[in-house]
Amino acid sequence: MQLTGDRFTSETAVFGNDLATLPDFPAEIRAPAGSLPGVSGFQVHFADHDILTPGDQPSVLVAMNPAALKVNIGDLAKGGTLIANTDAFNERNLQKAGYESNPIEDGSLADFHVHPVALSSMTVEALKGIEGVTSREAERSKNFFALGLMSWLYHRPVEGTLGFIEQKFAKRPEIVEANTKAFKAGWNYGETSEDFASSYEIAPAKVEPGTYRQVSGNTALTYGLVAASKLSGLPLFLGAYPITPASDVLEQLAQLKHFGVRTFQAEDEIAASGAALGAAFGGALGVTTSAGPGIVLKSETVGLAVTLELPLLIIDVQRAGPSTGMPTKPEQADLLMVLFGRNSESPVPVVAASTPSGCFDAAIEAARIAVKYRTPVFLLSDAYLANGSEPWLIPDVATLPDISTTFATEPNDESGFLPYRRDPATLARPWAIPGTPGLEHRIGGLEKEDETGNVSYDPENHDRMVRLRAAKVAGIAADIPELEVDDPEGADTLVLGWGSTYGAIGAAARRVRASGRRVATAHLHHLNPFPRNTGDVVRAYDKVLVPELNLGQLRMLIRAEFLVDAAGYNKVRGRPFHAEELADAITALVDS
């Protein structure tokens, strides 16, 4: 189902519509088919204008079985189109989904345009006579039948999908034939069946000129890391342990060895981060990727990186928790962990991506800060950004920022090399990598004497070092863009967001403004330090709303830091916000 969704998305992207997707699948690999927890869905929203979210209420739902209907029918807009695979609506499947009678026949779907289509049997029939294809395999091709039907319904270009089928199944020509036939049969069914009176043409969206591609958050992240390696001139080393929803980055980087990328699948999350830090000591761009349950295990390495003052990128693709939680579902509840989840005073800069394609820029920005300030940096993404995709105006490589750095090569004092003598502007210490003659030095987790880096238990020195490390991270505020506010009409209510709620907040603000109300929005891409004008921005508004997919973590920080009585809108359903619910919450606050 995910593959089918991906293909439809590609056809739509190539056609030139703007789009946003929401893949929604269980953590289990082969979850029992037909069961409610086993439903795998793919939501795609496309339009002839720019859109910001995968949509609150789909206009069309394709339900391959009763369980899929049950799980998703609540989202389908009234008057929407339902295409149901009648072959799967048998007694057993109805029972599994908890239906007492067949909803297609009992009138309970009267609010929708229901198209009963015998997807499975028509597919099997269409594939009869292909040698080497079992009836089970033929039945599996029904997803391509459905894709063909949907492609007809929305006039999607089909060449990409036909080419994809040939490439993907090249090793089994009979499967290429089966899927191609199923796809075409679905298309033809749409065209010839009188069941579908009309089809829809959605013109390409008007967008900025340039070359586009479709990109998911994890792919953008992968490319961002490779770009950061090129732009910094540092070889990329990724230490990672497989974990949903971050594993794509390990898998994709492993395919990019010709970029000099070293990927190390470690024995555990701890070793993954440790190896990345070891590589950073040697002069590499050290990166470790994980999700919340893995990030907790990396805390000690991050703490060491804080005191060693070496660059290290720690990427947290957040998922619903606590503990194992819901591995494939998004949440934004790791913010306080990455800020404070370490022993002692241990400040770490935090960068957050807001859109799938924005993961590319966020990776470069996080690497820039890490390398320039010799510090570990957290980069936050989440399961929604990771798996969701959108069209991306491919940036001109020449316009990407220069984040190169220099290693120390000479002693910085008459007495020799002082590994903790700081750059007065950035407070960063020199990065002297092994192999550099005359700069041999030792660093470690014990408190260090200012400048010399020698072990020190001196009370005054410890106080000074704690404050220096804090000042270094706080000082980054001068080196990041100010918080931008979108306030066309002079509102008295501000909606402040961070991370993947960007699209939903933007869409909600449009609705609120369309209703004649005024609202301002601002979105944080840096969570530590905050942009230097953040206090001014939040204090400039009478009312501040902070919508988050957690119980109010940024809100707590805003209140604590700026003494502003910010309100929250918080949901932790393992799903992104709907624009409508957010618009209602904003409207209520504006009107209050």
Partner: protein, 339 residues
């Protein structure tokens, strides 16, 4: 003094002493080990900047501070993982891990076994004193059953690890043992470890004179109990070499009187044997079971080195696809142009 082009330089042990005051307890076995290692370093034929010592936490882990090389005192148990990242990205360096019995076999057990099975090019020196010293005297994973310590007032219940058996079981390609005060034996083992490409695991029996004094007296003091392993030679030991090691048909080993058993019945040591079972059987010879302790190189076999394999894959990928171009990567897959 070294001047950095990686060429052969004439250094002495003194050149490897850092300006930091050594702070182990007076009489600690670590002093002897430090002296031997500093004295051995010039034999590497590398200038100092090419050498890195990485350690975890514990008494032994202070080691890097005292070496005039690059060094990192890291996290409890994690040194093999950190050293792995350094070694695979910097094959030009000589990377050494200094660890202890708690660091390597308790909190860091996982990293140790995985570094060994991968055969990363790091030299791992485990200072085994069978006690937690830095935390002031709790039992360790190598403490013997019944050991009375601060945390085991009625005696330890834990069955201990045999460090060499663990290493051999973890597919280590080089395994050796030496004694802190045995300068000649330790130097020979260090030399063999340094020349071995891949992971080298060296257990160094080290006396903690504060919390576990005399734990190894049966071999530190009683030289007749030392079984020096010599590749290709029959295994003999004792004050007058009067004892030897014989192999039972089931593969296990026993100690015999040479005069009774005859020279020709003794086992011939073969450190590079394809099977690890011989080295494993030797690792099971202990003072408690056999009244003797083997020393020297138990096992040394050639196996592909992780760092080399990774570099080779990068080269192969470049040959196949050419040097990666960012522009091409960003434009890979389906693209469309809007004018």
């Amino acid at each position: 003094m070294s001047h950095g082009n990686g060429n052969l330089v004439q250094l002495t042990g003194k050149d490897f002493k850092s300006d930091q005051e050594v702070r182990w307890c007076p009489g600690c076995g670590d002093y002897a080990i430090l002296n031997v290692i500093q004295g051995f370093m010039p034999e590497l034929g590398l200038s100092r900047e090419r050498i890195v010592f990485v350690s975890g936490i514990g008494c032994a882990a202070r080691f890097p501070y005292y070496m005039q090389t690059y060094g990192m005192h890291s996290i409890h148990g994690r040194a093999p993982a950190i050293a792995t990242g350094l070694a695979v990205t910097r094959p030009d360096l000589s990377v050494w891990v200094v660890t202890g019995d708690g660091d390597a076999l308790s909190i860091g057990g996982n990293h140790l076994i995985h570094a060994l099975r991968r055969n990363v090019n790091v030299k791992i020196l485990l200072f085994n004193n069978e006690i937690y010293g830095l935390t002031k005297g709790q039992y360790s994973p190598t403490s013997r059953v019944g050991k009375v310590t601060k945390s085991t007032p009625m005696g330890s219940l834990d069955y201990p690890f045999n460090p060499l058996s663990v290493a051999i079981g973890a597919e280590a390609s080089f395994v050796a043992r030496a004694i802190d005060t045995d300068k000649k034996g330790l130097t020979e083992v260090l030399d063999a470890a340094a020349r071995h490409r891949g992971s080298a695991f060296v257990e160094i029996l080290q006396n903690c004179n504060i919390y576990n004094d005399g734990a190894f007296d049966f071999v530190r003091e009683e030289k007749g109990n030392r079984v020096y392993l010599e590749d290709g030679a029959r295994i003999r030991f004792g004050v007058d070499s009067e004892k030897g090691v014989q192999q039972y048909p089931d593969g296990s080993l026993r100690v015999v009187d040479v005069s009774e058993a005859g020279e020709n019945s003794l086992l011939v040591h073969d450190a590079s044997h394809a099977q690890a079972s011989l080295a494993f059987a030797l690792s099971r010879i202990t003072f408690e079971t056999h009244g003797a302790v083997p020393l020297g190189v138990f096992r040394s076999v050639d196996r592909p080195v992780y760092d080399d394999l990774m570099s080779e894959q990068l080269e192969a990928a470049r040959e196949q696809s050419g040097e990666g171009q960012l522009e091409a990567l960003l434009h890979s897959g389906d693209t469309w142009t809007v004018s």
